[in-house]
Symmetry: C2
Subunit: 309 residues, 2 copies
């Protein structure tokens, strides 16, 4: 089982406008409302690809009820810790003429220490059946960054590999705690390590204790960095048009599925799966789903050991 | 009592971004969530100005629960007819750098015939205590435009003057039913009557049977047209900076309050109240509220009988 933890879940609302006019008034169809947050998206993708998953997160207030209803309807197994603070929303506005999407992510309100403790208890209860723990997404404003470290300690006590997609100091803490894989994008990696070069940034995370770093470089592909071997990169020959929201979550889902099946999985297999699921997410309408075209995308990937590493 | 009917209520969500970047991702505070729809906004404004009001509308689904919770918290007296279809949302994105607002209005789902009948029953039950009936806002997609006519018949049977802010064929129907006041803006008036000139359009509504037409001309002010007298216009010497959302609802609230007190109210008094409340709504942060500066704005209004009428 893959257990995903989402410290800052959101009800993701997506509206599609024929053409967005700044300052204008638009008639639109009802929003697509979906339970989201990175760890929930990871669980959705892995579940849709046949993996046994459990999404652990929080829900509070009327927005939390909508979140819970939608998640129940999705069929993704989950445990929701009730919290007093209202679950946040995110708003995405798709401009159908331009094909681009504006996103407004609410920061989220931190649960109380007792509520965090209840979340940790849920994770601890699930870990005996887990092959991988995924910790993914931002922390709500005011949350203790030590939460990520406590989650990783629980996994480490049980010998469960952790796949982590968090930013800032929590990324460094996850590296120090020996995460099996960290998945920053280039900007997050530079921000957390203070090193602009992604190869240097990734090596800094390895030095701290991470086993692997999977760094997304946008249209330039995906980079896998591991100690003792030259970095490996996978990219498509041409950029994909589509919706990149959730592409990183699909890469994390692929990494979790492969590490669950074999914690010593071959680097190239892991990278190709992550890159093809990530590309397939760009072709899918929303975060948390991937196009069934991922095997074909995997065949088209160019894999190399990049210069400058 | 002023009874307002809102055929297509909405949970209005407002997010404020420091600067909106097309195609960008933004961190924002939690949305301001407010029960809205034009008739609800009219009731809010009239209630805040001390009028006895009752807002009648529908609520359905989890969004309807949020709508109901917020309305309860507001203290505005209301009756909500439960409906199966989910209450729609509207999304407003405020660009704080530019000071402008983009609005995305969901079209809304029509209640069933039985649910419309229940709404009419609520209105009928409230009319014996009513001095004015306000019918305000769009109809949900697929709704029978005859609903407005049936509402006006109920009011007319009781001798209750009707103030109506609807668009399209429903505006013509409301005129034919002898509405005491119609409140289109210039584009709605041209759209409904097929006449580009607002004076001609207003006179067409009077010819059909409306008693008064209050037409907003944006920065050029507000026009009051009544049979047998030259049109009267009120405007500020300079345009106001602010949020025009809800300015029309404030004008309707003023008209309802004055017609409630005196169905034969003097034209200039009615116009000045409507124009100053409308201007005061531009100075308030959101729809459904007006700035306490409305008396001062009333003093600054220029009232004339415009040329070209």
């Amino acid at each position: 089982m893959i257990v995903t933890v989402t410290p800052n879940p959101a009800l993701d609302l997506t509206w599609r406008a024929e053409r967005v006019v700044p300052g204008g008034s638009h008639r639109v169809d009802a929003a697509l409302a979906r339970a989201g947050g990175k760890g929930v998206n990871v669980a959705r993708v892995a579940h849709a690809q046949g993996a046994d998953v459990l999404a652990v997160t929080t829900a509070g207030g009327p927005v939390g009820e909508e979140f819970a209803n939608e998640l129940r309807g999705s069929g993704v197994p989950h445990r929701l810790v009730p919290v007093a603070a209202e679950t946040r929303r995110s708003a995405a506005i798709v401009d159908e003429a331009l094909g681009d999407t504006m996103i407004f992510n609410e920061r989220g309100t931190s649960p109380s220490p007792a509520e965090w403790a209840a979340l940790l208890d849920e994770v601890q209860a699930a870990l005996p059946g887990a092959g991988v723990l995924v910790v993914s997404g931002s922390l709500p404003r005011g949350a203790d960054p030590g939460l990520v470290l406590r989650l990783l300690s629980l996994a480490s006590d049980r010998g469960v590999p952790a796949v982590v997609d968090v930013s800032g100091p929590a990324m460094l803490a996850a590296a120090s705690a020996g995460a099996a894989l960290l998945k920053p994008n280039r900007a997050e990696l530079a921000d957390a390590t203070g090193l602009d070069d992604p190869f240097e940034g990734a090596r800094e995370l390895l030095r701290l204790g991470a086993r692997r770093v999977l760094c997304s470089l946008g249209a330039e592909g995906l980079l896998l960095v591991r100690a003792g071997v030259a970095p490996l990169r996978a990219r498509l020959p041409e950029p994909l048009a589509g919706n990149p929201t959730g592409a990183g979550d699909a890469a994390v889902a692929a990494a979790a599925v492969l590490l669950h099946d074999d914690p010593d999985v071959d680097d190239e297999r892991l990278l190709v799966a992550a890159a093809s699921w990530s590309a397939a997410a760009v072709l899918a309408p929303g975060a948390g789903e991937i196009s069934p075209r991922h095997p074909e995308l995997a065949d088209r990937l160019l894999v190399d050991r990049p210069a400058g590493a």
